[in-house]
């Protein structure tokens, strides 16, 4: 029921995302009560307060799962399994670089796009990465939501369907930084918009990453070496984003 979805979305966004930002012109993530106040952290006076460590969580979403297998590359190679394998490796790579990462699903189960968005928005990570895989093309594609920058939300409530609008400048900045960093490794990468859920409903910087084989052979997607190479490159790119995410993504976009 549409009203049900809107109500759920509005309620979740109100309590999980928007309230901490009320009254702030630049929206860094607010300090929770048990953290030191932002003013006590050694900060550059021109930048926003340093975000608490736990706010630098990277949320990795292995797309599809359960009854939603995604693309069927061959009877024994499904997109949902490739995305889960890639996501687990990425989490490991991020952990070895000292960056906490969490998988939205670490099992083969079905999650709707609305459920995924609600879980991400409630967790307040610093960055959301949705992992997809494809047999088509070559290399990596990095997508941001196909929405208008800024959006037309007013007051504490966000429109569930366009909740990402207010964060789109940050997401596109992250997209550009990730693409530039991956490109330095010589790996083919493109930056594109995509009408892809749940990107539209996420209230933090959010990108989707689609991995394709470079050899034209789809079995490369399941290769441990290929997955290792891609996730290491991605983890290095994400690590390079962290200082900016930590200080203030908004000022970095200006």
């Amino acid at each position: 029921m549409p009203w049900n979805k809107d109500f759920l979305g509005a309620a979740l966004l109100l309590f999980s995302a928007r309230l901490p930002l009320l009254g702030q012109a630049i929206p860094p993530v607010a300090s929770p009560p048990n953290q030191a106040p932002a003013a006590q952290t050694p900060a550059n006076p021109t930048s926003a307060p340093v975000q608490p460590e736990h706010m630098l969580l990277i949320m990795i979403d292995p797309a599809h799962g359960g009854s939603d297998s995604g693309a069927v590359f061959n009877p024994s190679l499904l997109e949902k399994d490739v995305t889960l394998g890639l996501s687990r490796r990425l989490r490991q790579e991020l952990s070895t670089r000292g960056m906490p990462a969490q998988l939205l699903r670490d099992f083969d189960g079905t999650l709707s796009t609305d459920q995924r968005a609600a879980m991400v928005n409630a967790a307040h990570p610093a960055l959301y990465l949705c992992i997809h895989a494809t047999s088509q093309g070559s290399g990596m594609r990095i997508y941001t939501a196909m929405l208008s920058v800024g959006g037309d939300d007013h007051g504490p409530f966000l429109d569930w369907q366009t909740a990402q609008s207010a964060l789109l400048a940050r997401s596109r900045w992250a997209q550009q930084q990730l693409a530039a960093s991956v490109q330095k490794t010589g790996f083919p990468v493109r930056s594109l918009l995509a009408p892809l859920r749940p990107l539209n409903n996420i209230t933090i910087p959010a990108v989707a990453i689609e991995i394709a084989p470079t050899t034209g052979d789809v079995s490369q997607l399941a290769s441990a070496d290929y997955q290792q190479m891609i996730t290491a490159a991605l983890a290095n790119s994400i690590a390079s984003l962290m200082p900016a995410l930590r200080s203030n993504l908004e000022s970095a976009t200006q």
Partner: protein, 201 residues
């Protein structure tokens, strides 16, 4: 004493009932044992061929291999009505994809059933399930199909601002698991994506 006519009528009815039962049983037996016909071909949406003069129109054609969208000029007969022209232009685009040399896979039988132009600026495109069922699953593969159709439509139909895509007259969540079909597409945003897809980065 039962009247003789009543006995005769009852016997006749009884014999008829038995005869009908045997006949129905034979029909049923014949249906079960007879080989089933091959699965019926998908119902094609019958549309009258365009009868207007042939015109050149620009369509945006997807190329899977580099993941690009390229403008291409095609000649097709077009009607004078705005809505009919919109349908004919999209069917012209699909004909490009159904050609054996196409570099964007589309299943045989893929068709645009109808296009409805609703003022101000809304187009509702109704495609058939063959188009969706034959679509390659993937973010880029699916958005190439959607952007190709919407960019072609908005280039040739003046004043479009939003497009909604239906499948067999019904709403659908995604094209083939990725590209969102549940919302209205903003033509300006699609044009921005078409620009990205037209230039290989």
């Amino acid at each position: 004493m039962i009247p003789r006519q009543f006995v005769i009528a009852t016997v006749i009815l009884f014999v008829l009932a038995i005869g009908m039962s045997i006949y129905v049983w034979q029909l049923r037996h014949r249906e079960i044992t007879a080989p089933r016909p091959a699965r019926a071909a998908p119902v094609q949406h019958v549309t009258p061929p365009a009868s207007g003069p042939t015109e050149r129109v620009t369509v945006y054609v997807a190329y899977d291999d580099p993941g690009e969208l390229r403008a291409q000029s095609i000649s097709i007969p077009l009607s004078s009505g705005r809505q009919q022209r919109a349908e004919e232009i999209l069917r012209g685009l699909l004909n490009v994809y159904l050609d054996k040399n196409s570099r964007h896979l589309m299943a045989a039988g893929a068709e645009v059933r109808d296009v409805y132009l609703v003022d101000p600026g809304l187009a509702v495109v109704d495609v058939n399930s063959a188009l969706v069922d034959g679509q390659t699953s993937g973010v880029l593969a699916e958005e190439l199909t959607v952007v190709s159709m919407i960019q072609t439509l908005s280039t040739n139909v003046f004043g479009l601002t939003r497009v909604k895509i239906l499948v067999d007259g019904k709403e659908r969540e995604t094209l083939a698991g990725h590209t969102d079909l549940s919302e209205f597409y903003d033509v300006a945003q699609v044009a921005e994506l078409a620009k990205q897809l037209s230039v290989q980065q």
